[in-house]
């Protein structure tokens, strides 16, 4: 079982809705990530938070808005999404920087935009 927990596991939302994906880890990791994964493709990095500060934004549209309230929590706020945004959204964490930087994934949130 993963120690990175994500909620909800499934979400269906309309293009005018506002929703949020939530992620929590209690491993003391200081880096947290959001990835997007489409079917039959590897994960694509969206955002990285390091020590609760946004350090990487991989040119993600502003309809995706990340938030890191504290070192254990990471949210992804969703607004005015498009059907092509439907995907598996994966949260991940790692201890931090350095050569032992293994990334551990949560089980993901399946998002469908209708």
């Amino acid at each position: 079982d993963t120690e990175v927990t994500q909620t909800p596991k499934h979400l269906v939302m309309g293009m005018t809705n506002k929703k949020s994906l939530k992620c929590e880890q209690h491993m003391g990791h200081r880096a947290m990530y959001w990835y997007k994964q489409k079917a039959k493709k590897p994960p694509e990095l969206m955002f990285v938070y390091s020590y609760e500060k946004l350090s990487i934004n991989e040119s993600v549209p502003s309809r995706f808005s990340p938030e890191c309230p504290n070192s254990s929590l990471l949210n992804l706020h969703l607004h005015a999404l498009q059907p092509e945004d439907s995907a598996l959204y994966l949260c991940a964490s790692s201890r931090g920087t350095g050569i032992g930087n293994t990334i551990y994934f949560g089980e993901g949130s399946w998002l469908t935009v209708v």
Binding site: T2, K41, V48, L90, S94, I103
Partner: protein, 112 residues
Amino acid sequence: EDKVVQSPLSLVVHEGDTVTLNCSYEVTNFRSLLWYKQEKKAPTFLFMLTSSGIEKKSGRLSSILDKKELFSILNITATQTGDSAVYLCAVGYMDSNYQLIWGAGTKLIIKP
């Protein structure tokens, strides 16, 4: 351009067979290579390799890295139907503390 290439893209074998999955890479400032198993949900971490020639082993799974020839293999012996999954290879590089370059994955199907 940095890239990670996995082969084969898909593989079908019978239970009990041994399989070898390949991951080759062309990445400047290589730092580490990671193997993940993905079933229907999130990728599950298997191994991280940083040094050449040192085999990592976990049960029926093992992996080794060759930094001279720029590849890694993942071996699974005595395969079981539960090994059916997509196996992903990812490479981390020195220029980025966080960014991984992912291979496209190998879809492994184990038939009873």
